[in-house]
Amino acid sequence: MSPDRLSTTFAALADPTRRAILARLAAGETSVKELAEPFTISPPAITKHLKVLERAGLISRSREAQWRPCRLQAVPLKEVSEWVERYRTLWEQSFSRLDDYLHKLQTKEKKHARKK
């Protein structure tokens, strides 16, 4: 995945309304009207958000049905989650070593205590 595409995905995900839309779509495809219901913003504003999500490849809109259902596209999200995981892993490498090391230190301390 190119960094540019990743930036587009992140930019699309940076908005709470768009994240809420995606979370809603995770439950299954739906119409724009249904999607707009829980939000206080206008349908045109929702449509704007949908366009951003569509450009980022996070959703697709069917052209077959009249009501043009929105559908979640999982691939970019999977890629983002892989990047998040990568950053976490970087730190987790040190921390899991620290887990082992703390365990060793504690075992040593206990041995010491028994000797006394």
């Binding site: 995900l13 983002v80 998040v84 950053y87 970087l90 921390f95 703390l102």
Partner: protein
Amino acid sequence: MLEKSNPALTVTLPSDWEIVMTRVFDAPRSLVFEAFTKPEHVKHWWGIRNMTLPVCEMDLRPGGAWRRVLRKPDGTEVTFKGVYREVVPPERLVYTECYDDPGVGSPEWLTTVTFEEQDGKTKWTGTCLHSSVEVRNGHLQSGMEEGVKDVFARLDDLLVSMQQGVA
């Protein structure tokens, strides 16, 4: 939510200038604090796979300097350094942090670390406060091999629900 699949470390970006990480260690607070603040301990765990830590200096007092050098397998080195601002054993550290990276220059930020006792375990929280969103993103990017320039926090809940929805 992500904690379910990844029990250990959480990373969030609560504002444009911050990176916050939390982690629970199964050891008493005094021990965890020592492991974080004594070079002879730090050398055992801090770093990245395939890298060594030939230099680790910590003058643990307000105004005291710290310095760590990470050596990559190809021999190149990255120096991390800063100055302690607050030292409150075994619960709190505040220090500046910066490093030289050809890609991002020498960004500096302020790191506040707290150690909280939780039923014999220790909750570690590290907050990195940057002077601008650019410095914050530069710091984030530095951990990556390519440029991730924007927000990837507060996604945890969403990503989990996505994955469940897709599965």
